[in-house]
């Protein structure tokens, strides 16, 4: 942590391929980005674009095929099992579905205590120490103390997600992968959880990788957004810039597809042909070309990420110049 400007996490040309009978499935292909301490990087994309695989690979819950993951400048892809275990307390994850990510046979107290015991922060026999820490975590995430001995099935989705957050926070991490933490929740509860996550970030200086398909949520929370399509980052920028000036045809289509919650704002949709294709054996060219209204012969070549403005990159041979062929 010598250099104050060094990013907390840097991902360089990360790849995660899965072998399938039809060929390699390129779930994450050549993804690079960095996140500064205290920032939130929003990762958006539709189902199957590789965003969950990206989050899991960064934590080495899945082994990367290629590339580097630098945490405080240290490449964690080379970490041994023992080093990884120590790292787990610094990097945590909050899962999408609070219904299936909690053990139904563990009480709230047991669920929150488990990581503390596992990491040796509190000794297993130290009942008082454990209880103190568990209650402290429950207070922190706004879970009333009376729920300490209840089971997950007795609680609603919002409260369950608070347990998930308490578990992730129990080890005092610096970095948290949030994998669609609010998509299973109702809107009024979703806002409670989003505000809680914002408060915790400010209070504890947390850094988030926030994975979601919900563009309104990502705009609300992120300091920077990357848009993924079939395993690749197609565009990245800060939220204002991305929403005001989207330059990749996919980003444009994605943004114009959001139903705006106001009858006075009429949607003008950028039409998109067909649906997302399979990420198996995709070849060199642009992965979006088949659905793109601006496709041209150059699209069959490999596309590179180009910077087109301050902190704004786009992976498209037109580099945001979309005036032709309209």
């Amino acid at each position: 942590m010598s250099d104050a400007n060094a990013p907390l996490l840097e991902v360089r040309r990360l790849k995660k391929y899965f072998d399938t009978p039809a060929g390699p499935l390129q779930a994450v292909d050549d993804v690079s980005f960095s996140i500064g301490a205290g920032e939130t990087l929003g990762v958006v994309g539709e189902s199957g674009c590789g965003k969950t695989t990206l989050g899991r690979t960064i934590l080495r819950l899945q082994e990367p095929t290629d590339g580097q993951i630098l945490f405080h400048g240290d490449d964690i892809t080379k970490y041994s099992k023992r080093q990884l275990k120590a790292l787990r307390s610094k990097m945590q994850i909050i899962f999408q579905d609070p219904y299936s990510s909690l053990n139904p046979r563990q009480t709230v107290a047991q669920a929150i205590a488990a990581p503390l015991v596992l990491q040796g922060i509190v000794r297993k026999g130290d009942k008082e120490g454990l209880e103190k820490k568990v209650l402290e975590m429950m207070d922190r995430v706004g879970l009333a103390r009376r729920f300490v001995n209840t089971y997950p099935h007795e609680l609603d989705g919002g409260r369950r997600q608070r347990i998930g957050i308490a578990r992730a926070l129990a080890l005092d991490p610096e970095f948290i992968v949030c994998d669609e933490p609010v998509s299973a929740l109702d809107v009024s509860i979703q806002a409670q959880i989003l505000n809680l996550m914002q408060d915790l970030q400010e209070e504890l200086g947390l850094t988030y990788l926030f994975i979601t398909h919900d563009l309104s949520v990502v705009k609300h929370l992120s300091t920077r957004i990357v848009v993924m399509y079939l395993g690749q980052v197609v565009e990245s920028a800060d939220p204002e810039e991305l929403f005001r000036n989207p330059r990749h045809p996919y980003t444009q289509a994605l943004l114009s597809a959001i139903p705006v919650p106001s009858p006075d704002v009429k949607m003008e949709r950028v039409k998109l042909k067909g649906e997302i294709t399979s990420p198996v054996n995709m070849g060199q060219g642009c992965r979006f070309a088949g659905r793109c209204a601006y496709a041209c012969p150059e699209c069959s070549q490999a596309q590179t990420e180009e910077t087109i403005g301050e902190g704004h990159t786009v992976r498209c041979c037109r580099q945001g110049n979309l005036s032709q062929n309209e």
């Binding site: 539709e46 806002a191 409670q192 505000n195 309104s216 705006v260 919650p261 009858p263 009429k266």
Partner: protein
């Protein structure tokens, strides 16, 4: 405008071993001819139960329609015998379900599944019905040569198109869409919504759209009803609901969603949870979470009050506001 469907004082309860669930409580609702009516509410508000009551597909037991009328044309759907209601289902009123993955039969080709509803309701032989099914597939944007394929060979968005093709196969007057795009990605959702809008124009179908997504409501519906704990708390035109919001719950919902078209630092969540439908409070169902709640709210149940035009709200504040205006 003519009322195509009118629900009057509908009450549906589920009698379970643990107690009685008051799923739908004295709901009044009108669907006008050619309109899209959005019914909005969160999980457990009773939206799906309301929809299933219209189709008369509430599982009984434990569910029971305990009171009210559902008037379609000059008939009460709740009075019809099984044969009569079967001639209405799929022909006059049809329904699309939330999850297209489980709404289709996995072992029957999609073309046959569409043809089934056609051959039940129309006087056509098997071949003619299958031809109509292929035409329906084309209409929802799926090439007819895929009619012999099975559901698993289609993507989520296409499966939902097949479900819509089944629902529209007999040109029903009313389409009930229960969260039709919730399981779909946003670009696919936009495609499906646009298709529904086009088909509605083409066939003059009226739509009852059940959703929790206020964005979908704002873009699709002319009329809106907000549901909370089994009752309608506010209803009116889409402009009434979004621009002249009257009920604290509607206000809460609108404050709780992150808005892409506006810049805000912080969301305003609604504190607390929806009351347990087994133990509904005597007063206003929302009063525990309401920032404007007064003593009266927990003791008395607020009636539905007409504000202006067709904008109704179930809240004492609105009633007071009106009396003050008069004075």
């Amino acid at each position: 405008m003519k009322n195509l469907l009118e629900i009057q004082d509908l009450t549906v309860r589920f009698h379970t071993e643990d107690g009685t669930v008051n799923a739908v409580n004295h709901v009044d609702l009108r669907l006008e001819d050619g309109m899209t009516l959005g019914v909005v509410g969160e999980t457990g508000a009773g939206k799906t139960t309301l929809a299933k009551s219209i189709m008369r597909i509430i599982p009984h037991p434990p569910g029971k329609i305990e009171g009210g009328k559902i008037i379609y044309g000059d008939r009460d759907l709740l009075e019809m015998d099984d044969t009569e209601i079967r001639s209405v289902r799929g022909k006059e009123i049809s329904m699309i379900f939330q999850d297209p993955m489980s709404a289709l039969n996995p072992v029957i080709p999609v073309g046959e599944q569409i043809a089934e509803v056609i051959s039940i309701h129309e006087n056509l032989d098997k071949k003619q019905a299958y031809e109509r099914a292929c035409a329906m597939l084309e209409m929802v944007g799926i090439p007819a040569f895929r009619a012999h394929e099975y559901p698993h060979q289609f993507s989520g968005g296409m499966k939902q198109r097949v479900v819509i093709a089944i629902a529209l196969a007999c040109s029903p007057r009313i389409l009930i869409a229960d969260e039709p795009t919730t399981a779909l990605d946003v670009t696919i959702q936009a495609q499906v919504l646009e298709m529904m809008r086009d088909l509605k124009e083409k066939f003059g179908t009226s739509i009852l759209m059940i959703t929790h997504d206020l964005g979908v409501v704002a873009q699709m519906c002319q009329k809106v009803a907000i549901m909370y704990a089994g009752e309608i708390v506010e209803s009116g035109t889409v402009y009434d609901i979004f621009d002249r919001t009257a009920h604290p719950y509607t206000e809460g919902l609108l404050g709780a969603i992150p808005k892409v078209h506006l810049q805000e630092r912080r969301l305003r969540p609604i504190d607390g949870l929806m009351p347990d439908p087994m133990e509904l409070p005597a007063g206003c169902a929302f009063c525990e979470r309401c920032k404007y709640a007064q003593e009266r709210c927990s003791a008395e149940h607020p009636p539905m009050v007409l504000l202006e035009g067709e904008h109704y709200v179930r809240c004492f504040r609105a009633e007071q506001g009106r009396e003050e205006d008069k004075a």
